[in-house]
Symmetry: C2
Subunit: 415 residues, 2 copies
Amino acid sequence: MLAEIITIGDEILIGQIIDTNSAFIAKELNKIGVKVFQITSVQDEASHILDALAQANERADLVLLTGGLGPTKDDITKAMFLEYFEDALIENPIVLAHIHSIFAKHLTVPPLPANISQAMVPSKATILMNTHGTAPGMWMEKNDTVFVSMPGVPFEMKTLMKDEVIPRVKSKFKRPHIYHKTLLTFGQGESQIQERIIDWEEALPETIKLAYLPSFGSVRLRLSSTGTNKNAVENGVNNQMSILSEILQDISIGYENETSLVGRIAELLNAKKKTLSVVESCTGGAIAKSITELAGASSYFKGGLVPYSTAHKTKILSVDASLIKKHTVVSIEVASAMAVNSRTLFDSDYAIATTGVAGPTKGDTDKAVGTVCIAIAGPDRVLVEEFSFGKHRERVIAKAHNKALEMLLKELSKN
Amino acid sequence: MLAEIITIGDEILIGQIIDTNSAFIAKELNKIGVKVFQITSVQDEASHILDALAQANERADLVLLTGGLGPTKDDITKAMFLEYFEDALIENPIVLAHIHSIFAKHLTVPPLPANISQAMVPSKATILMNTHGTAPGMWMEKNDTVFVSMPGVPFEMKTLMKDEVIPRVKSKFKRPHIYHKTLLTFGQGESQIQERIIDWEEALPETIKLAYLPSFGSVRLRLSSTGTNKNAVENGVNNQMSILSEILQDISIGYENETSLVGRIAELLNAKKKTLSVVESCTGGAIAKSITELAGASSYFKGGLVPYSTAHKTKILSVDASLIKKHTVVSIEVASAMAVNSRTLFDSDYAIATTGVAGPTKGDTDKAVGTVCIAIAGPDRVLVEEFSFGKHRERVIAKAHNKALEMLLKELSKN
């Protein structure tokens, strides 16, 4: 069966917001065997929305819409549903009670008429309760196609998808099994990788599809397959993936979702009962942020320091001022001292240190913009390297962040 | 004139990546008066791509495609262009020389046949040089519609858009002027805001469109207008925006793009010649990361500390252990001491401190998951408040991050 996702809102078409909802919805649908044929973003404009509904009806068995359900005048999805399904509004008492209870619990003001009007819903719709907001989801059918309208607020949409939409789709449609597995690699480009795996790739069974996904000096390799027999589909992909990861053993990190750089680091630190701290000059907190986004980080993460001015590298981190004077603040010597002293300051087994010139200007150093020194200090030794990451601040920070985690992972994997 | 954006790649339709390219392209087009009618994401599949090209041809004057130009077998956009435009490949010597020079300059290996094949291009295409990669952009025309194919790697696409596509679109098409201006507000919901501005909204001229964009406890209000006279269009929006921002004076931060929370804070700190430091327990580096993403942050940002274990709040930050024992680590007393001591540690005029329970488990405290205490210490006084941000780790961190910056902004705006 095929699904289509329609996102409604001028804010997407003028580039004011990035559509993150579609990726979430697509992923959830894939998990239950529903293939997404197309994603379409349309304007808050009546004829455009109606056209999109009619076209999706031709192509898809399931059409999921987000956006345009707010209480303000620019939101017109509900009116379009009324027109498309030739329906009229009725008041839903459960939604009405829910709106009153949300206001009573969380807000200091009473609901306004615009909030109350969220309880008016198309009479033919199955209502999907939105526990986190006042706009309910709506499930309607036409010509054997199911249309589901959800609010565009990501948190509300996600809960509706998981609690209401997915279970209903599962019971309504017969679905095959879709399976993806993605190998994470680093250090080689996609052409180089293709050259190494070409014989294996050409011998892949037709039921298994390979995709190359390059980004920031790493390539992800995805195998995908679909079929009615879950075990056969998964075994097919897993067997091919074992061969692939063996061919690329020297550049593989692991599998996406099962792990990530930060996730794999967490596993290794937990397994070894070791701890980590970070001192970030040019990455400015980005590494600490990634590490602490993972639940349970407090079991291995001792803390981080962002000594953004040179003086604080000396004062808080006790880096020898004469060392900085001799080698400049962006040097492998200073990076190394920062990492070593971070272990002491935070009493951690391992430490990452970054110091560099993110740009656009040079600051307290004679090094070129984009120069970054990264050090990893462990119980037995210190690794330190100087890199050149280009001239764009955002990219320099992102690349330094990735490279530092990669270096730590390699070091943890060795011991 | 109307444009359509088509993104090609299964990775978008299975939710493996979020389509950030479309938002960038849409924004750049809007700046030069090109309206994006629709954004469509399609699979790496021949008939689907050809259908999308044909449909876009009917709707749009300009069709911008990204993705499917890589050197590997899963990339088929170039082949689809050949089919759609009934064209054949020829070798482009400039692209060939460019590929060789990229490999000679940046890579330790010689180009592979797959890389060299990027120099084979459709004979009718105008080639757009991709300075950052080996796949060139292609500009082709059919039935008065222009089709432009660009690589999906964001950095390569962005440079191609700015250097090649935008100048050519400008000289090829007559375009109106499109203008958006967005007011950033905080602290009230969209229904409340609508209630306050309804009389003004209903009196808006038909040429000006209002949109409400809610997210994480803040609402953005966008006014948009299009017309042939640049001054008339901009004055019309600006005049209405002045009225709107006056009505909502108590909850306005400023205008999007002209400013952001972090940008406004930077302006005020620079203007007052004051400095900032941050101590982040539950936000784990997120605030430091946002502040240091802005170029020039080193002029007012002294540094940050992520004292992730309770012990380091005492050891590095000198927070009194008995204070933590008495009030627990998540308390307004401890948050306040953290902020005050951060000023001393980093020798800064202002300091932000966060301490809370991001979840999913409680850690060293008896406070409920989602409880966060935020303190702002300045030269004259300390502001501190306790919040409850729900049960979801990601949201707790995001809301604490936003609220802390909002509190600092208010404090800086007052003095």
